[in-house]
Amino acid sequence: MRKKTFAVAALLAAATLTLSACGGGDSGSSPVAVVSEDGKQQAATVLDQPFTKPDLVLTDTRGKSYDLRKETAGHPTLIYFGYTNCPDVCPLTMNNIAVAKKQLPQAEQDDLRVVFVTTDPDRDTPAALGTWLKGIDPQVVGLTGKFATIQAAARTLGISVEAPHKDKNGKIVSTHGTQVVAFSPKTDGGYLIYGEDATVDDYTKDLPKILKGANP
């Protein structure tokens, strides 16, 4: 027994020295390590009190009027607020959803409504949105219109976006929403929220449930 204890102690000592020898351990600047400890089980947050679908009429990528409630009634729907001049989170979020969607049977892909609402309507014209979304999934509905209308709709979903403004170098700074809201085809209520860290696998696992309005 004793022998075993000593061996373990020696290993521990070696491990400790290895850590301190390579530094970095004490700097606290390694968020990667923290993320891996999350042990995340479930990407979606199920809302006790679902959001009402915003009463939103905007312009789609063909330049036509799009009434969100009318067009998506009875369909499973995902809504995200972002902008096309966003290199990181917006395309990642939309691509994650698009890749997961393509794994559904065609009939279910056609049933699902994925709606991308721009937070930068001056730059994201119907044509610009259309070009960008074509590179992700042509079935995604892209909407643009007055920023105030978009901001008000986002606010009803607990999503805060600011109007684009210029920084000191004259570059336009826009904001994107941090959440994707999923609406049930049964109730049309926004009952699930996904954060930025939701992956392709999370959406792949959950989309079949969302198609039925079930909890993942």
Binding site: C22, V35, N85, V200
Partner: protein
């Protein structure tokens, strides 16, 4: 009693082994307490972009030295403009430099800091690479060949 005695010789052996291992690793990592910055790059990738003019890049700059340095600019033959961005809330702000702390690292990751490539000469495609040069306040520049991954690449899962 006899058994315990028999096991004793293991103790003086085990401890020096651990100490030697640690000592070797210390020199191996070259983390001199006050030495100059020793920079290296790992985990670099570019997700294949949607647009053919703009892309984001991610990497980690590790400093094994005892002195901090600063990343002051990034250049690339693939793009006319590469800038450093910090994510503040849900918008991004361009910054002129970022610290690489002593015995620490500067992390660019999705949702946090990122390199922003603009005016790309051609669209980076999965399987290709984009060469960049990182410039620092004191250390020599580092050239990095950044692999282009899928649009949905997740460094946590490697997919």
């Amino acid at each position: 009693m006899r058994r315990v005695k028999a096991a004793r010789p293991a103790r003086p052996l085990a401890v020096p082994t651990a100490v030697i291992t640690g000592a070797l690793l210390l020199t191996g990592c070259g983390s001199d307490a006050d030495g100059p910055a020793e920079l290296s790059v790992r985990a670099a990738y570019i997700p294949q972009p949607v647009s053919d003019t703009m892309a984001a890049g991610f990497l980690t700059i590790v400093n094994e030295g005892g002195t901090k340095d600063e990343l002051t600019s990034v250049t690339s033959t693939a793009a006319d403009s590469v800038t450093l961005h910090e994510t503040v809330g849900s918008s991004m702000e361009e910054v002129t430099s970022l610290d690489v702390p002593a015995h620490g690292q500067l992390v660019f990751k999705s949702g946090g800091n990122h390199l922003m490539f603009e005016k790309l000469k051609s669209k980076p495609v999965r399987g290709g690479t984009v060469t960049v040069e990182l410039h620092f306040a004191t250390s020599d520049p580092l050239e990095v060949e950044i692999p282009v991954k899928s649009a949905t690449y997740n460094p946590q899962t490697g997919q």
